[in-house]
């Protein structure tokens, strides 16, 4: 059933966020540390195990893939509720600090990505599947 996939995804999400909050508490930070990342790892490892033991039917899989396909529309809704007015109203300090940090960190991507050897690009996308 599709709900099994959705439920597995949701359970991984919650378990990850709880782990992230616990880690934040241990570190003494008022913030979640890596919750979504832990959730992703749980989903990857969990579904891989289910698939190998043949316990992940196609229908359950679709419960996860639906949300994956909804990702871009959800991100568009996220963009539509950003505080763009405040972002543009910060004056020169905020603008230079924001633009500067973004530019410097973007420029460092090729340097960091070289650690442990260069990777091949992904094959080009076929049709628009988003």
């Amino acid at each position: 059933m599709i709900i099994y996939g959705v439920a597995a995804l949701a359970a991984c999400h919650l378990a990850g966020v709880i782990l992230g909050d616990l880690l934040g508490m241990i570190l003494g930070v008022q913030s979640n540390v890596g919750g979504v990342g832990f959730a992703m790892l749980l989903l990857i490892v969990g579904t891989d195990w289910l698939r190998r033991t043949g316990r992940l039917p196609v229908l359950s899989e679709q419960g996860i893939l639906f949300w994956s396909a909804m990702y871009i529309p959800i991100v568009v809704a996220m963009a539509a509720q950003q505080n763009v007015v405040a972002a543009l109203a910060g004056g020169p300090i905020a603008i230079i600090a924001g633009v500067g940090a973004t530019a410097v960190c973007m420029a460092l991507v090729p340097v960091v990505a070289r650690i442990g050897g260069q990777d091949e690009p992904l094959p080009p996308l076929m049709a628009q599947e988003a």
Partner: protein, 254 residues
């Protein structure tokens, strides 16, 4: 007319699906017709989303863009942290764990470098504009990291509310820039494989920025970038009021 508005408000989330669906359709049309597909439809959709957020913010004076307009409150639920994080987690489905392990060292290096460099740039800009005390420099540096790290650092250190507001603005601008800019800089910085995406997520850190930027570039990169970005804000909040502040205090002496 009132009856229809009433129904749309009551069915906010459902209306949000229609709204976003229309925006997506329009964006892919624009992408095909005006840029011959060079600028990805999802990139156009995110830009339209940000423009709508700006219009919503101007119209209502609120802080949640279009979601502050009563008719569009459903956008707030659809694009809020809960569903956004669920969707981000779902993109990890089918990811090869070996890719992540292979890029682990680069991801950790990216996180450390991304947080430190943002603080350095933010603190330098703050100092250039006359905020030469360690508390203000650390707060604006935190804002240059993300719009959460800035206020958390500022509140912990007792920065003035004016400085905290500046740090939030810097972080918001970074998130918007990353959302819009990623597809344009991707070819220049080799952002086309899982490892560079993990480096990117760790260096940029803003979850919403990375989530939007990679969606507009190549959706297959999203899980890798999100994986590292999700650690960034937490680590930034850990390092900001402690290591970063103490380092700045040692340099400035006040």
């Amino acid at each position: 007319m009132d009856m229809i508005t009433d129904i749309l408000v009551k069915n906010g989330l459902v209306f949000a699906f229609v709204t976003v669906g229309v925006v997506m359709w329009l964006s892919y049309q624009l992408s095909d017709r005006l840029s011959a597909g060079r600028l990805h439809g999802s990139a156009v959709a995110i830009i339209i989303g940000l423009v709508l957020a700006w219009i919503g913010g101007i119209a209502t004076g609120g802080s949640r863009g279009l979601a502050d307009v009563p008719l569009f409150t459903g956008i707030g639920l659809m694009g809020g942290a809960m569903l956004r994080d669920l969707a981000i987690v779902s993109t990890a489905y089918g990811v090869d764990i070996r890719e992540i392990r292979k890029a682990g060292a680069a991801g950790i290096a990216a996180l450390a470098l991304g947080i430190v460099m943002s603080f350095v740039v933010g603190a330098l800009v703050a100092a250039a504009f006359g905020y030469t005390d360690a508390v203000s420099m650390a707060t604006i540096g935190g804002g240059a990291a993300t719009y959460i790290v800035g206020p958390v650092t500022g509140t912990a250190l007792g920065a003035s509310s004016e400085v905290i507001a500046l740090s939030v603005a810097a972080g918001l601008l970074k998130a918007v820039l990353v959302m819009i800019g990623t597809p344009f800089v991707a070819p220049l910085i080799g952002l086309n494989n899982p490892k560079s995406a993990m480096a990117y997520g760790g260096l940029m850190g803003t979850t919403s920025g990375v989530a939007g930027g990679l969606a507009a570039t190549d959706k297959r990169l999203v899980p890798y970038g999100a994986m590292t970005a999700t650690f960034y804000t937490g680590l930034g909040c850990l390092l900001g009021p402690s290591v970063m502040y103490l380092a700045l205090l040692a340099i400035t002496g006040s």
